[in-house]
Symmetry: C2
Subunit: 218 residues, 2 copies
């Protein structure tokens, strides 16, 4: 699949069929994740492919609890909620109710001791550690797109990290930073995406100065 | 370009020619970044394309200072340093000495107030905010690969964030999380990459249990 075709149609797919993923296909998307660049080429991440139904049931309950809390304020808006948010909410409800039936959930772990987190001591939230993990996560998700597999990056399970670590026997020094359910889409899956035009996202030399990149605004 | 071809040959390119990048090509790689998924589709990042020679000179000096500090212990190892690290060091020295001559440096900013950082209160370094930025950074770098443009993800400038923010007039509530020099490669640029086999990176259901993904080990 063409790189730009994959990127320009990569959207979150939250309704996933329980049908099995052929092992070579799963191996291919995981290999794509492993190709990603990381700081110092250290690859400070590991991926646990969770397929065990009992473990997935435990995870589904934890996820549904967090999803309910996370979406409480959205639900309170009722019909006032913007349509794209309503759609996201319904799809998310489906995922939360069915996470135990996805063919595989990839839990991504990282070890901060293996990272140079250059913004760790700044007086603002630190995110730089993510630079050596989410490159791999994006490769994984783009490869899923190419294989016709739906997936979505979720992070709500971090609120229950101790429970997840106990369940999957993750060592003390490793954290979790993503859980990615993967499966064939229930509906049509991928398609057009809605993003801001790049002139809202790109500045020329100083903050707020429009970049002259007119060709690609459309 | 094929998605897997791009990913499997994407390596850090630190020796960049000063030659200009045609504007439509630059627009294309920035648009690819904008396509990336982010939490709640909020796109809590902005990209500043720095091409101003005076600003780049200031940045180059800041970067070189941090690069010298960062690599001090590597240099102390002398010939004992592993060959891949020696190569990285030499290429990095080139970048540090020539960063003011790259055709464009993309400084990536983020706003933590627009993110749901689910691991913010855990008793370990937080990295989840990166999940809404480095997906875009990876798209940007993969698109560079497809266009024959070299680039590398750097984060050392975070050590000088206040100086960078003042120079680029970045508002108080925004942080910086990546600086990506982009240009045509001096040498051959992309090519084979060296990564761990995926059986070292993927576990089956519990930490440490080998996944049976034999087909792609090679």
């Amino acid at each position: 699949m063409d790189l730009y075709d994959a990127m320009s149609t990569q959207r979150a797919v939250r309704r996933l069929r329980p049908d099995a993923i052929p092992e070579p296909v799963l191996a291919k998307v995981l290999a794509a994740a492993a190709w990603a660049p990381t700081g110092g080429n250290v690859q400070p991440f590991r991926m646990i492919t969770v397929t065990d139904r009992q473990k997935l049931s435990v995870i589904q309950k934890l996820y549904q609890t967090q999803w309910s809390i996370y979406t409480e304020s959205m639900r309170a808006e009722g019909d006032g909620l913007a349509l794209p948010r309503q759609k996201m909410l319904r799809a998310g409800d489906y995922l939360a109710a069915n996470m135990h039936e996805v063919p595989v959930l990839v839990v991504v772990c990282f070890n901060a001791n293996l990272m140079a987190i250059t913004d760790a001591d700044l007086d603002r939230p630190s995110i730089v550690g993510g630079g050596s993990v989410y490159t791999a996560v994006q490769n994984l998700m783009l490869a899923c797109r190419a294989e016709g597999l739906g997936c979505v990056l979720t992070t709500l399970l971090c609120y229950q990290e101790q429970e997840i670590k106990a369940l999957l026997e993750i060592p003390e020094e490793w954290g979790t930073c993503a859980a990615i359910p993967i499966g064939y889409p229930v509906l049509k899956g991928y398609g057009p995406i809605s993003r801001r035009p790049i002139d809202k996202l790109v500045f020329d030399n100083v903050w707020g100065q429009s970049a002259s990149l007119g060709e690609t605004h459309g």
